[in-house]
């Protein structure tokens, strides 16, 4: 049955800070820049904001999690003098950016605030990114750390290797995703790789990070913030741009039999509750979706989502992404903005912002024709995921 709140809440505007590798500006400055851009995009002021939500955590072992430095929590905006009286706020603790957006949707439906600012800020520290040092292996780590198997990239690589072997696939085929993403980023001013091209040869020559994942299968860490403003659809219709209506939004967790590493036992089964809810709430089916923005922090997650969401069958995603099918003029354009692979590691917030820009016809040289419904899948169906569908009509 269709969601009773379908189309009642909308994303009214989005805003970006500069997207940089390492910045000589503090992260707090990036956050304020993005927040100002988001309210400007609506024709509002920061003083109109009375709701705040983010997923703040820094995603790597070496993070210090200091507000304004490598994370931007709700606290920073609560203390920002330009922000109005805040009647509602939320920090998604161990979720995803979709979790924060969903919190804002629920708060707006409940009337807890009128204009909610949702953001995700990311930071690249000096030196090597996310490299840890350990003198003792405690807790779960005693089963992985003595073997040097401690990083999400290794766990993703292990799951992906099993996927490739199970389906008789070659890692080289994943070049299609990286190349498509780079072409789209080359048409996006909000991307770390706006001006840098990527060739098939570059991909094939790339160094391995943790095989079968090469450099270009990993998203590029950036220092940046993306923000957006959500409000009721009634209010959104009186603002500057066409609203992107929330037709469905949900979350999914996987009951992991083994939490030491990622297993990818059955990502289709794990994703099923979320996917079923999305199609039921929105009244749409995969064939109704004009564009898919698929989380690609490590590129194979995009493959798993294509299968879990029902855009293709089990083990078919690698074939699906070939031959231009996911290009801007293909059957299902994917990551039209460059994805995290080529826009930068914004943890899914870039995916949602792009869906909004496409829906409201503001994607410039990468605009897809008639994108009446866009699906965003965040996280990974083998771990935990979040997803939403945005539409042009409520």
């Amino acid at each position: 049955m269709t969601w009773e709140h379908k189309g009642k809440i909308a994303v009214a505007g989005v805003g970006f800070s500069p997207i940089e590798r390492r910045s000589n500006q503090p992260l707090g400055r990036h956050a304020l820049t993005a927040a100002h851009a988001a309210v400007d995009d609506c024709g509002l002021k920061l003083s109109d904001i009375d709701g705040l939500a983010t997923y703040p955590q820094a995603p790597h072992l070496a993070a210090v999690n200091r507000d304004g430095e490598d994370v931007i929590t709700v606290e920073m905006f609560l203390n920002e003098p330009q922000i109005g009286a805040v009647s509602w706020y939320s920090e998604a603790g161990n979720g995803l950016v979709v979790t924060a957006v969903r919190d804002a949707v629920n708060a707006l439906l409940a009337g807890a605030c009128t204009y909610a600012l949702v953001w995700r800020a990311m930071y690249v520290p000096p030196g090597a990114y996310g490299v840890a040092n350990a003198s003792a292996a405690l807790g779960d780590a005693q089963f992985t750390l003595p073997y040097g198997c401690v990083s999400p990239i290794q766990w993703h690589a292990i799951a992906y290797r099993n996927y490739l072997e199970k389906h008789g696939l070659k890692r080289e085929s994943l070049a299609a995703l990286a190349l498509n993403s780079r072409l789209n980023a080359n048409r996006n001013e909000h991307a770390i790789f706006t001006d840098r091209t990527l060739t098939h040869e570059d991909y094939m020559d790339a160094r391995m990070i943790s095989d079968p994942l090469c450099l270009f299968d990993c998203d590029v860490p950036v220092t940046a913030c993306v923000a957006m403003v959500l409000t009721t659809s009634e209010r959104a219709r009186n603002l500057k741009h066409d609203p992107a209506y929330v037709a469905a939004i949900g979350q999914q967790t996987t009951n992991r039999e083994n939490r030491l590493h990622y297993m990818l036992h059955d990502h289709i089964f794990s994703g099923r509750p979320l996917v079923d809810q999305l199609w039921s709430d929105s009244g749409l089916q995969p064939q109704d979706i004009a564009v898919a923005q698929l989380y690609d922090g490590f590129a194979p997650s995009a493959l798993y989502w294509l299968e879990a969401a029902g855009f293709c069958g089990r083990g078919e995603a690698m074939d699906f992404i070939q031959d231009g099918r996911i290009a801007l003029d293909g059957d299902l354009p994917v990551n039209t903005f460059g994805g995290s692979l080529s826009q930068g590691r914004l943890h899914g917030m870039g995916h949602i912002a792009e869906a909004v820009l496409q829906i409201s016809g503001r994607a410039g040289p990468r605009q897809v024709k008639n994108p009446n419904a866009i699906a965003v899948f965040d996280g990974s169906p083998m771990l935990r995921g979040g997803a939403m569908i945005l539409t042009q009509d409520p």
Binding site: V131, L145, A157
Partner: protein, 85 residues
């Protein structure tokens, strides 16, 4: 426990993720499914294998216990089992 299992999957890591292992880069980590029970997994590094040797899902491995630091501690590790197919 027999100490026997089969490779479920693996990765060879080329970039530093933990500085303690920088001296042994690149190295291969495996997930072993133990013979005693389907779905019972252990993580290990794969010892005694030349990098570049062909690995496959399902290759047999067996445990050995390597001394670790002082006080008689040992670390269970796995190596390819040449005696089984």
């Amino acid at each position: 426990m027999s100490g026997k299992g089969r490779i479920w999957s693996w990765t060879t890591t080329h970039r530093s993720v933990i500085t303690n292992f920088d001296q042994v880069l690149p190295y291969t980590c495996i997930v072993v499914e133990l013979e005693e029970q389907a779905g019972l997994f252990l993580v290990s590094d794969l010892v005694g294998r030349e990098l570049g040797a062909e690995l496959k899902v399902g290759l047999p491995v067996s445990v050995f216990f390597a001394p670790l630091g002082e006080k008689g501690k040992v670390l269970p590790q796995f190596k390819l089992d040449q005696d089984r197919e």
